[in-house]
Symmetry: D2
Subunit: 234 residues, 4 copies
């Protein structure tokens, strides 16, 4: 994976994160920005994934032919293919889940909403949010011991029927479906996995996901067994 990036809530929030990271050993430093965003501060998580933080952003302006009928929508509904609604979340692999959990909690202020803890007490997966979505990114244990790896990126569609429809369309077009449509017990995501031509795994999931509205939410802890239990159709 090249890098992932989070937008801070404000310039002040960005500065607070940078102050926390500087000298931590995880910090890399500032860059001038990139396509669509301004100055960004880079750091590495304990597993070696590059993470950037920025605030200044360029708002998308739809060209005339893509202007929506309803102005509370960024772009015209495509009415084509699987009609993705938004980028939903990212899933990476990491060798040491616990070290990464502590990093994201302490340095980036992310909130853990669900996790997998094995019988021996070792952590095997974590789901983090930076807003009210029940997760914005997840890390699961890399059993090969390789560092810095990406697992999948997820695009959300409007409802479960749209995930099924996506499966029909992938089948129709010869796109290999690795698994699903299924429902995960963890986060109750209804999803499928495909691969884009470049070889990356892409998840399609429903956007009507759970929201975590309680500020004092206590993370749900799954054992490996309980996580499997509710996996419908698997």
């Amino acid at each position: 994976m090249g890098h992932m990036a989070f937008r801070a809530r404000s310039e002040q929030a960005l500065e607070r994160r940078v102050a926390a990271l500087k000298g931590s050993g995880y910090d890399v430093g500032w860059s001038d920005g990139d396509l669509g965003h301004g100055p960004a501060f880079a750091c590495n998580d304990p597993d070696g994934h590059r993470v950037e933080l920025y605030y200044e952003t360029e708002w998308y302006k739809a060209p005339p032919e893509l202007r929506p009928a309803l102005k509370n929508q960024a772009q015209r509904f495509p009415a084509r293919g699987i009609n993705v609604r938004r980028l939903d979340h990212l899933n990476c692999l990491a060798v040491d889940i616990k070290a990464n959990r502590i990093f994201f909690e302490n340095y980036l202020g992310c909130r853990l909403t669900e996790q997998i803890v094995m019988n021996d007490g070792s952590e095997a997966g974590m789901w983090f949010t930076v807003c009210n979505k029940s997760y914005d990114f997840a890390y699961t244990r890399d059993h090969t011991g390789t560092r810095g790896r990406f697992h999948h990126v997820t695009y959300a569609v409007d409802c479960r029927e749209d995930v099924l429809r996506a499966a029909d369309i992938f089948l129709e077009n010869g796109v290999f479906i690795e698994t699903g449509p299924h429902k995960h017990a963890i986060q109750q995501t209804f999803f499928l996995y495909v691969y884009e031509p470049g070889g990356n795994r892409v998840e399609v999931a429903n956007a009507g996901a759970r929201l975590i509205l309680a500020p004092d939410w206590k993370p749900i802890v799954w054992s490996k067994k309980s996580a499997r239990r509710g996996r419908l159709g698997d």
Copy 2:
């Protein structure tokens, strides 16, 4: 309306219908066939709509780029626009509904599944099937007294969510939605009406409609009032 056409179940069935029609005063006669079908026998219903009957048909063969992944499907799923599944039914207007009902029952062997009968005993609407779909065509009273008019043709989509999605797409593309999405009490169709550029009314409805499986089904009779009662969102 130019004409509508029904395919008979067999050559024999076609011949039986032609024998019944000949000399009835409704018969027009044979033509050599048209795009996609063989010889057709034309007649006029009492309101003056031209109706053709044929049996020989040309089966659609999808060109290579439209060949479906699953061979029990005629064509590749389009994944574009509202993804119509099939032509569902036709709705005409007629001045004298009862006369037309008797014609379709006696000469064409159609089965009445639902109808509107006014308090004064006059018939105001009829829904007919020639298979197990709860209706294949409907006639409603022409209050202007004009003969031979067409009201709408209906395309079916897979589920009610797809009718809502169609509404989103019509709105996005500036297509005027005359009414709906609503649910009719009669036939429980979930539908909307739009107009195609040529000025004809087109209905989009859900394909998961009711089936009439009983050979001795007794037509449902609605009064004008009861028909309105269940009209959700109207």
Copy 3:
């Protein structure tokens, strides 16, 4: 399996079937009728399943508390559990599929819509309709060589989302889901399998299934491999 029963289209149709069966070696004979139906003629298919034919039937009358708001519906919508809409089809096992196919075609006038034929030419599965639904019953090969066995009975719900919802409800109530929700390539049924407390397999599938409207439909022939190919999520 005790027996399955088909309702004939008319008294005449029933008499024609009885005439065909009498003396065929498959015929068992008349009984006086049973709960909800009149006189029935019993026969055995080549695999030994008992099949009854009848015409006289008792129409369901909803008691006052189950009377529906819309009179084109037999009963009030339950708004409880998985909200089954209708009994959809039956699946039996048979040792010799071909012998059973010929029986159902020749003696009962059923129409084959899809089938599985192995590379060695032997038949491994068949899907039959007696109306416009794309199938009303299916037989698949019994690999154990046991005769007269039942595989599952299927209840239809309104749409695919309702099959997913059923899965949620089964999970919530500790009902073991054997497989699914999945989509079969054959017949494109979206389904799941559970077991009722008595030990019988029950399928829940979507009612918006395909219709076979062509009177000269040519059965779709699947090889074992092609049947598997489109099995989403399996």
Copy 4:
């Protein structure tokens, strides 16, 4: 309306709001708490609606018979009626929308996401969020000039099909549907209105609503005309 209440993000956040309100003329004062929550600070908005703020809360514990199969869910899925998922938002009426907007922005830190501004510059409606849902409450102009009124409370269901299903169930049970199912242009909510036996208007809407993830979201401004334009089926 008796009162509405918001939970603060923390004790500190609650104290900051109380400090802002004290002496503002809107402040009412502390109470010891109520069913399910601890000490609450009450204030009145400019229209006279009573608003309470609290932090301490009592977490719901499902009794054994309502314990869910998946532990990331508060309660067993009911599988009964319309299967409400969460309380979604509240809608009040107010004589002076602008005064109320300024109050909620300045004293309670709420974020305006959409609003109606008339041609004469007067404000006619406002939609506010306190999280990432695109709105948690709305105020629309009271044309009668009456103060402190409630318009409706909204329960969310999982998807649009569930709103349609709710309409079916209300129809089946003789519950009057005032309007809908429709889609609002504003917030793109898919909804219907019914009345509970006590006479209050209740909205059922889909939970898969839009999320406002940008910290610098610019409120969408609708004219009366543009707000109407996208109102499907109205």
